[in-house]
C-alpha cells in the first residue's frame, strides 16, 4: 500500500463491513479501478478475516453435545440455588442497557442541557432573577453585606488584563456600581473598592483598570456614592 493510499484504507474497510454511503462507495470504486495496492488490501482484508476466525471456528466445531448438555445442566442447577440480585444490581443492569441503546440521544440531550444552562444562567443573573451568592458578596464588604441582606445585590465577575475584577451592582435603582480589583490570590474586599454611579446602566466600570493598587475610576455622571468602606470613593480611593 502506497503512502498516498493510507486514507483509503478506512473506506475500504467500511465498504467491506457494509457501512459506506453511496457517494463514498462511488468514490472508492473509482479509486480501486486505478489502484493495484488498494485492490490488494481489499483482498487481504478478506484473508485476514478468514484467518482470524479459524481458531474460533475450530473451537466451536469441537464442542460436543455432552459439553452443551453439561452447560445447560449447570445453568439450570445454579438458577435453582443462587439468590436473585438486589435492587441496586438490577438498577445497574437496567441503566447499562438503557445507556447502551440510547447513548447518542442521551449525550446529545446532556450537551444541549449544558449549553442551555451556560447561556441562560448569565442572562438570568443579569436580570436579577438569580441572586448572587451571599458568601461571595459578604466577604469584607459592609455595604455588600447590607445590600445582600436586602436582596438588592447583583454580582458579576470577569477577567480583565492581569487583574480579576468583581463588578457589584448595589441598589440598582440608584444605578451605583462598585468595582473590586483583586490581586493574585486576594479575596474580594482585600483591596479598597471604588464605587461609581452608573450613567446609563451600561458597563461603565467594566473597562480594564491600570493597576490593582491604584485603581482608576470612571468619571461619574451623577452624584457620588459612599463606597463599601464608608468613604466617598469618587476619584482615588
Amino acid at each position: 500500500m502506497s503512502g498516498g493510499c493510507d486514507s483509503w484504507e478506512m473506506l475500504i474497510e467500511r465498504q467491506r463491513d457494509g457501512e459506506l454511503g453511496r457517494a463514498d462507495r462511488q468514490r472508492l470504486e473509482q479509486h480501486l479501478a486505478s489502484c493495484d495496492s488498494c485492490r490488494a488490501y481489499e483482498q487481504q482484508l478478506e484473508q485476514i478475516a478468514q484467518l482470524a476466525l479459524l481458531p474460533t471456528r475450530q473451537a466451536v466445531e469441537r464442542l460436543t453435545p455432552g459439553q452443551l448438555d453439561r452447560l445447560w445442566a449447570g445453568i439450570a442447577s445454579r438458577l435453582e440455588t443462587e439468590p436473585t440480585p438486589g435492587v441496586l444490581e438490577r438498577l445497574a443492569t437496567w441503566f447499562a442497557e438503557f445507556w447502551g441503546a440510547n447513548r447518542r440521544v442521551l449525550i446529545a440531550a446532556g450537551a444541549a442541557a449544558c449549553l442551555t444552562l451556560l447561556v441562560a444562567y448569565p442572562l438570568l443573573r443579569q436580570d436579577g432573577s438569580v441572586g448572587a451568592p451571599a458568601a461571595t458578596v459578604a466577604s469584607g464588604s459592609p455595604v455588600a453585606v447590607e445590600a445582600a441582606a436586602a436582596g438588592e445585590v447583583i454580582v458579576d465577575s470577569l477577567q480583565s488584563g492581569e487583574h480579576d475584577m468583581v463588578l457589584v451592582n448595589v441598589h440598582p435603582e440608584d444605578m451605583t456600581t462598585v468595582i473590586w480589583l483583586l490581586g493574585d490570590g486576594e479575596e474580594p474586599g482585600a483591596v479598597a473598592p471604588a464605587a461609581i454611579p452608573r450613567q446609563d446602566g451600561a458597563d461603565a466600570g467594566m473597562r480594564p483598570q491600570p493597576s490593582a493598587e491604584q485603581p482608576s475610576v470612571e468619571q461619574p455622571a451623577g452624584p457620588s456614592q459612599p463606597g463599601p468602606t464608608g468613604q466617598d470613593t469618587d476619584g482615588e480611593p
Binding site: P55, A59, G100
Partner: protein
C-alpha cells in the same frame, strides 16, 4: 418424512422471535429461557473463546453470562436486541476474567495457543494420510494457523472482541458500539487497528490465495 416447501416455509415462519422468548422468560417460562440458551450458546461460546482462547474458561464464562442474563431479565426492556445485550455480558465477563488473571493471562494465552497448535498438529498429522492431501500444504496450513494465533495474541482483548464480533457475528458498527459501550468512531478505529496489526503480523502469508478448508 419428506417435507413439502409449504411445510418448510411454515416451520421457518413460526420460529419464535427473541423478543417473544424474552417476554415469556420474563413471565417465568423456563422453557423459553432454555430455548434462548440453545439458540445462542454457540455464538456466546465463540465470543468468549475469541477473547479467552481456552475452551473450558469460555464455557464457564458462557454459563455465568446466561445466569446473569436470567437474573436480570426483568430489567431488559428490549430497547436493544437481545443478542447485543448477551454479547456485551459475555464480552465483559471474559475481559474481566482476563484482567483478574493479570499477568497470568499472558501465560494462559500462550498455553491456549500451544493447545490449539497441538490440535492443529494432530489434524495436520492425520489429514494428509487419511484424506490423501499434500503434506507440504498441510504443513503450510499449520504454520499459518500458528502464526495467526500468535498474531491474535498480540491484540488486546478489546480489539480481538471487536474484530470477532464483526467478522464472525456480522454485527454492524452501531451494534458493536452498543456491545462495547463506545462510539462508532471508536469501533472503526479499533477494527482498523486490529486489522492493520494482523496484516503486519501475517506479512508474507497474505499473498496469493488462501486455501484453509
Amino acid at each position: 418424512m419428506l417435507e413439502s416447501p409449504l411445510v418448510r416455509w411454515y416451520t421457518v415462519g413460526v420460529v419464535t422471535s427473541d423478543a417473544e422468548l424474552v417476554r415469556r422468560a420474563q413471565s417465568g417460562d423456563r422453557r423459553a429461557f432454555e430455548t434462548l440458551v440453545q439458540r445462542y450458546q454457540h455464538k456466546a461460546f465463540a465470543v468468549a473463546f475469541g477473547i479467552l482462547r481456552r475452551e473450558d474458561d469460555a464455557l464457564d464464562v458462557v454459563q455465568d453470562a446466561f445466569i446473569k442474563v436470567f437474573k436480570h431479565l426483568d430489567g431488559f426492556q428490549g430497547s436493544s436486541a437481545f443478542y447485543t445485550w448477551l454479547y456485551r455480558i459475555v464480552a465483559n465477563l471474559a475481559i474481566d476474567q482476563l484482567r483478574r488473571r493479570g499477568r497470568a493471562a499472558e501465560s494462559s494465552f500462550d498455553d491456549a495457543v500451544r493447545q490449539n497448535e497441538d490440535l492443529v498438529g494432530e489434524e495436520a498429522n492425520l489429514l494428509p494420510s487419511r484424506l490423501g492431501l499434500n503434506p507440504h500444504r498441510e504443513m503450510a496450513r499449520r504454520e499459518l494457523v500458528e502464526q495467526m494465533n500468535r498474531a491474535l495474541g498480540t491484540l488486546s482483548p478489546v480489539h480481538r472482541t471487536v474484530l470477532l464480533l464483526r467478522e464472525q457475528e456480522g454485527l454492524s458498527y452501531e451494534e458493536l458500539a452498543q456491545v462495547m459501550q463506545c462510539s462508532k468512531g471508536t469501533i472503526m478505529s479499533r477494527l482498523h487497528h486490529a486489522r492493520k496489526n494482523l496484516q503486519a503480523a501475517l506479512e508474507g502469508y497474505l499473498h496469493g490465495s488462501l486455501e484453509l478448508d
